[in-house]
Amino acid sequence: MAWATRLGICVAALGALYAAGWLLETYVIEYVVRIILLCGINAILAVGLNLINGTTGQFSIGHAGFMAVGAYATAFTVVNMEQALFGGGEIGAVAGAAIFNAGILVGGVLAGVAGLAVGVPSLRLKGDYLAIVTLGFGEIIRLLFNNADFLGGATGYGGGRPAGLPIYTSFFWVFAWTALVILCVRNLTFSSFGRALQAIREDEVAAEATGVPTTRMKVLSFVVSAVTAGVAGGLYAHLQSQVSPAEYNFDRSIQIIIMIIVGGLGSVTGAVLGAFFVTITLQLTLEFGEYRLLTYALLIIVLMIVRPQGILGQREVSLAWLRRRKGAA
């Protein structure tokens, strides 16, 4: 396709997204819209985590930590930019959106830096050190935010304003970012880079022998995964009026893992479907409390015994695939 055609498709898609957002936010009750937004944010988290856990086969269980870094960094940037540029005055819609997206970028970059710091020591080694280091990292980062007084400590960060953080996260921005992240991760997965990652997952020694710089590849995919978590954190922060450290706990990391296991380890579309499925079921069964996670834990164990690659495995859902299935049946 010529680049002009691609640009046209992009513009049309963004326009359609904007229209869909407007329709939803005007005609659908807030509770449903919120669940849809959470689905989008969780899709970013799941697709990002799947790159390291599914495609590369290195198990990270502290994704919520990177999300927290992104959330705090975004909120802090947005609040301070608003203060510096407008001094508490009226902020226009365009300027607000620009500040919000700048904040998300900062959140993503800082989460990536955190990913580099965690990834370099643990990914140099073979084996499952990453799991335990990321578990520790997730707990420690929560602890640090809990004790950071300039970020509100345990009560959370609301920008030091009575109304809390500005609500910038809308349908349009969530799904624009979701589309961007999915596109990036998809292209990475189906490039030579993605093939190298799969080689590492299948046999690290063999991958190294055929000239894959395993450590660099692992760290790189881990950092990309952390960046996406940071972006999701930024979006999530401005959906609430407050960033509170207690929200980014181990349970959240586990929820994201459940999404990619349900969807299929290594499948981009699987991660998206898993994110939607898990988000919606968890939201609809809120009243059952701990029984929900108990059920999911049981589901993980049973899946690992009978179908360890997740429900979709590495398969991708696409129109062509669906048509072929229909033809076969």
Binding site: K126, V205, E290, Y291, L293, A297, I301, M304, I305, P308
Partner: protein, 301 residues
């Protein structure tokens, strides 16, 4: 100087709890090359088993609890957790034993999550105060506050560790465990029942975790269903520090982590007590990933 000895005493007692739990991690890792995430929940169940056993045996707050009953609480909780450990292995880990490495790891996370939430449902989320099954006495030795709890914790921990060492080094069963950890297939050919040996490893590791849970309850006085997460993490770091798979390494690692943590609490800030463990882990992974007692083994292709 008084602060130093005070933190050293605290560190030694906390450290011996970490060491007890680290032993379970390291024994399982030594044989199955699996990080048994559920181990921290076995530790939690151990503490709760002690709590309910003490209540069942007629513990009343403020009344003296006979020593032999306290001993019974310890042994009872250890037996309960040993059977829990064996059940976990049989139900969840054995079906995925020969699957690719990631599968047992995710299974272990699943079991851990399962037990945590089961704990929240059965025991309730609010913390409970652990019965003082050994009456507390406080001594003041030259400005250092010493309680008989700390001494009991250290001694019980030490006794169990020495017992384990003798068991592994001096008995036929211990020899079988070492053989399975070196080469599972060869051990099977020599007529060792691999399944039984692995089950035994889980039983012993879980019993030690239960003892750790009771000692932890005695030391910290509060227990709750999510208590295993942080303690388990520290114990695992202890196992890595000492060289995972190495039994003396786990003991030394546990003590080092305990002392380092208490020193941080005493000299820097109690808020960073948990962070120092993580810092130690990063340093070990960067400088000596095989741990203090570990040996570098070349990778087989």
């Amino acid at each position: 100087v008084a602060t130093f000895f005070q933190q050293l005493v605290n560190g030694l007692s906390v450290g011996s709890i970490y060491a007890l739990i680290a032993l379970g991690y390291t024994m399982v890792y030594g044989i199955l090359k699996l990080i048994n995430f559920a181990h921290s929940e076995v530790f939690m169940v151990g503490a709760f088993a002690g709590y309910f056993l003490a209540a069942w045996l007629g513990f009343e707050t403020g009344e003296a609890f006979p020593f032999h009953l306290a001993f019974l609480v310890l042994v009872g909780a250890m037996i309960a957790c040993a059977s829990l450990g064996v059940t976990i292995e049989r139900a969840a880990y054995r079906p995925v034993r020969f699957a690719p490495k990631l599968t047992p790891l995710i299974t272990a996370i699943g079991v851990s999550l399962f037990l945590q939430n089961l704990g929240l449902i059965v025991f309730g989320a609010s913390p409970r105060s652990f019965p003082k099954i050994v009456e507390e006495e406080v001594y003041n030795v030259g400005g250092v506050i010493l309680t008989n709890h700390k001494i009991v914790i250290f001694l019980v921990g030490l006794a169990l560790m020495v017992g384990l060492h003798l068991f592994i080094q001096r008995t036929w069963t211990g020899k079988a465990m070492r053989a399975v950890s070196v080469n599972m297939a060869a051990a099977r050919l020599m007529g060792i029942s691999v399944n039984r040996t692995i089950a035994l490893t889980f039983a012993i590791g879980s019993a030690l975790a239960a003892a750790g849970g009771i000692l932890f309850g005695l030391d910290q006085t509060r227990i709750e269903p999510l208590m295993g997460v942080m303690v388990g993490l520290k114990a695992f770091v202890a196992a890595v520090l000492g060289g995972i798979g190495k039994i003396p390494g786990a003991v030394v690692g546990g003590i080092v982590i305990g002392v380092a943590e208490q020193m941080t609490a005493g000299y820097i800030s109690a808020d960073y007590r948990d962070a120092v463990t993580f810092a130690i882990l990063i340093v070990v992974l960067l400088l000596k990933p095989e741990g203090l007692f570990g040996v570098v083994r070349p990778e087989k292709v």
